[in-house]
Amino acid sequence: MDASSLDKARLQSLLEEEKRKAMANEMVAKITDVCWDKCITGSIGSSFSRGEASCLSNCAKRFAEVSMLTIQRFKSTE
């Protein structure tokens, strides 16, 4: 490989990594949005109750599970 091909390959892989990080941040932001609405229903305190904290954590995992299931289900109908 010549120097500029190496540069391009390296840049490509750096960009891929930034893209992965950005997509992960986006997913966390979207799920936080949804789960905040589902779990933080009362007034805002100076800390989360244990119920609120576990609701948020469960909500995130269930959301990820549902996302996967919908893709699988969709694929099975093709």
Partner: protein, 90 residues
């Protein structure tokens, strides 16, 4: 949000003369700014909805402190979600 990672060795230049490091720094900065902007907009919307139920001619003391707590809680919630999704499973 992640911090910059920089290679200790000298940067390589493309044929146009812009180093890969400089380009990546620019891209990371712009990504971070776009993320921060979106985050602030979301938090503002959520906390307005939670704390300002009957808008008056100014924000009351309790509305202001609710907003402060709400921002803290939303940041905390983001951390909880991030760990729930990306920490090692049970």
């Amino acid at each position: 949000m992640d911090s910059f990672s920089s290679s200790p060795s000298m940067g390589s230049s493309s044929s146009s003369g812009v180093s890969t490091e400089a380009l990546m720094d620019q891209i990371k900065t712009q990504l971070a700014q776009a993320y921060a902007q979106e985050f602030l907009e979301t938090v503002g919307n959520k906390c307005f909805a939670k704390c300002v139920t009957k808008p008056g001619t100014s924000l009351s003391g309790s509305e202001s402190s609710c907003i402060s707590r709400c921002v803290d809680r939303y940041i905390e919630a983001t951390g909880i979600i991030g760990r729930a999704l990306f920490s090692s499973p049970r």
